[in-house]
Symmetry: C2
Subunit: 339 residues, 2 copies
């Protein structure tokens, strides 16, 4: 609720987390005050050395927020958090941040709309945040922007929405290796079936995006279904793991649907596979009037997730206290960089 | 800041205003409690009769808010306001609404970003709103959404924005008669020059949109220029005023630019003419990465302005007190209708 620079403490130095820290260091409106990671290899190392850049080493990695000596005015501290997709795993870290008086912007996919899938964790975090007078949100490009925030924004220009359809296509061949692994690039169809049955593959957060859209538009989000089908390579396709032979898996075709009284209201389809291009984001609203929005080339998953997190720091500082969802927040946006 | 239904008092029963009232009556989350218009022909008439619909006549038109007997809890009253493009003309009405304890959503184009063009009026309204603990915003589809809110939203997926370019094309042939008059449909090029010199034609709010985008992205908006060029009919073109002969004016090509240290940062171009279709909205961000967003068919000006106003009622109730701009607010969105 202030115009002063935000003091940023970052938790989690995976690939996205390092990109978040790089961006925070570039931004003129943000000061990096702490960096946390549980890896013994990193604790005690200066952040410039961790990033392998000329970034200053004035901040050294500590194991957890409790080990950081933070001297920051209330409302000025924001924790950016990138450790896990699982809300169960993140919850203790999120509660620690809130209890330290920090607003939180997290990449935890299950946090983006936890009210249906994890109502108890959501209520606990919401209570803690209200008590501390801070705000918490889960975001990123997807979930958090492309398939949920953007369609809600578009609905602002309609008198009435009857149904929301989103198609997101991401050519996994242009994404980093963990993404190609996540979509099963190169595995057999049998292995694909096994992993789907074990719920150990696919994009985390599609159900949450669908429920976030439904809730923003005033629809009951409890009747949500999600399916994952394989995208099978039709020709030899180069990938991070070598050539994918025809008949092997190139990626996923994942759909989440919210129905209200049996009527389909939200339909989100994510096609993420090696060689599937061109990438695109496509949103269609049926209503009064119908509307169509297109992002040719698509919003880049990795690049945009770090950006979306850092750009949301300003938005979370102006939010009402409690556990928030993105559609509660003013639009995230970048700020000028340091000269 | 509450989940209860908003109580809506509407001021101004022009074409857009009547559409706003129709929408409010349809919405399950809104209750219409008063309607105001200065026209003696309307005062005392039931709103159903004014709208020529089966809408209930439980609310009769009064001359001003002061004549309405409002018994509404603080924070629940929202005034929707559609009387004039001129902030000077609207200011007394806006101050009266704020002093009555109402949040305000107004279609006044000059209110959408008044901080550079009308800083004294802006400060006065901001002070009054903070004192009353209410929030005020000027919005609509343009200004308020297509050429300002939407590009700011898109910037949320970028690490850095260097420049924003927006092209909005509206086929005035598909719009209502006042719009065709506003763009000079059918007049001579001499008359066009005369009206431009007298500042009596063109779209009001383009400069405000450009400044709103600049301010949201952290750029100084004081160096803004605006130009209006004619779109001349090349063939006989049907319009609301009869056929436009070749050589006569079909509409306008209006551009607003914000420069910072001589570098062009925001470039908004609005082409609004009879027979100019297809309508479209096109946003291009230069930055890291470049991004392109397109709304094929465009956001309909008249339909979407009434929708944008009503959809912002929920957003303004959750805003911080004071004079706000749209990029401060959570995305506007429709709610389910009454059954």
């Amino acid at each position: 609720m202030t115009g002063t620079a935000a003091q940023v403490a970052h938790v989690g130095l995976g690939a996205i987390g390092r990109e978040v820290v790089r961006l925070v260091l570039r931004r003129s409106d943000l000061d990096l005050v702490a960096v946390c990671d549980i890896s013994p290899d990193l604790v005690g190392t200066g952040i410039g050395s961790v990033l392998d850049t000329e970034a200053p080493d004035h901040v050294s990695v500590v194991k957890s927020l409790g080990d950081a000596s933070l001297d920051v005015a209330a409302g000025d501290l924001v924790v950016t958090h990138t450790t896990s997709s699982s809300l169960t795993r993140c919850l203790p870290e999120l509660l620690a941040a809130v209890e330290a008086g920090a607003h939180v912007v997290s990449s935890c996919e299950e946090l983006s709309y936890p009210w249906v899938q994890a109502p108890e964790a959501a209520a606990r975090l919401d209570d803690a945040a209200r008590t501390a007078g801070v705000s918490v949100v889960g975001t990123g490009v997807n979930p958090g922007f492309a398939m949920d925030y953007l369609p809600v924004v578009l609905s602002g220009a309609t008198k009435r929405v009857d149904a929301v359809r989103v198609l997101r296509v991401q050519d996994a061949g242009r994404r980093r290796e963990p993404l190609q692994a996540k979509v099963g690039a190169g595995i057999t169809t049998e292995e694909f079936e096994r992993r789907v049955a074990a719920a150990s593959m696919g994009h985390v957060g599609l159900t949450e995006s669908a429920q976030a859209v439904a809730a923003a538009l005033g629809w009951d989000a409890s009747d949500t279904t999600e399916t994952i089908e394989p995208v099978v390579a039709e020709m030899p396709t180069p990938s991070a793991f070598g050539t994918i032979e025809p008949g092997r898996i190139a990626g996923i075709d994942q759909v989440a649907v919210v129905r209200v009284d049996g009527v389909e209201r939200v339909h989100l389809r994510l096609r993420m596979a090696v060689g599937i291009g061109p990438s695109q984001d496509d949103i269609r609203l049926t209503g009064e009037p119908d509307l169509h929005l297109s992002v040719p080339g698509g919003l880049h998953g990795d690049l945009a997730t770090a950006a979306a997190l850092v750009n949301t720091i300003g938005s979370i500082r102006h939010a009402e206290p409690g556990l928030r969802v993105m559609s509660d927040l003013r639009p995230p946006r970048p700020a000028p960089e340091r000269r």
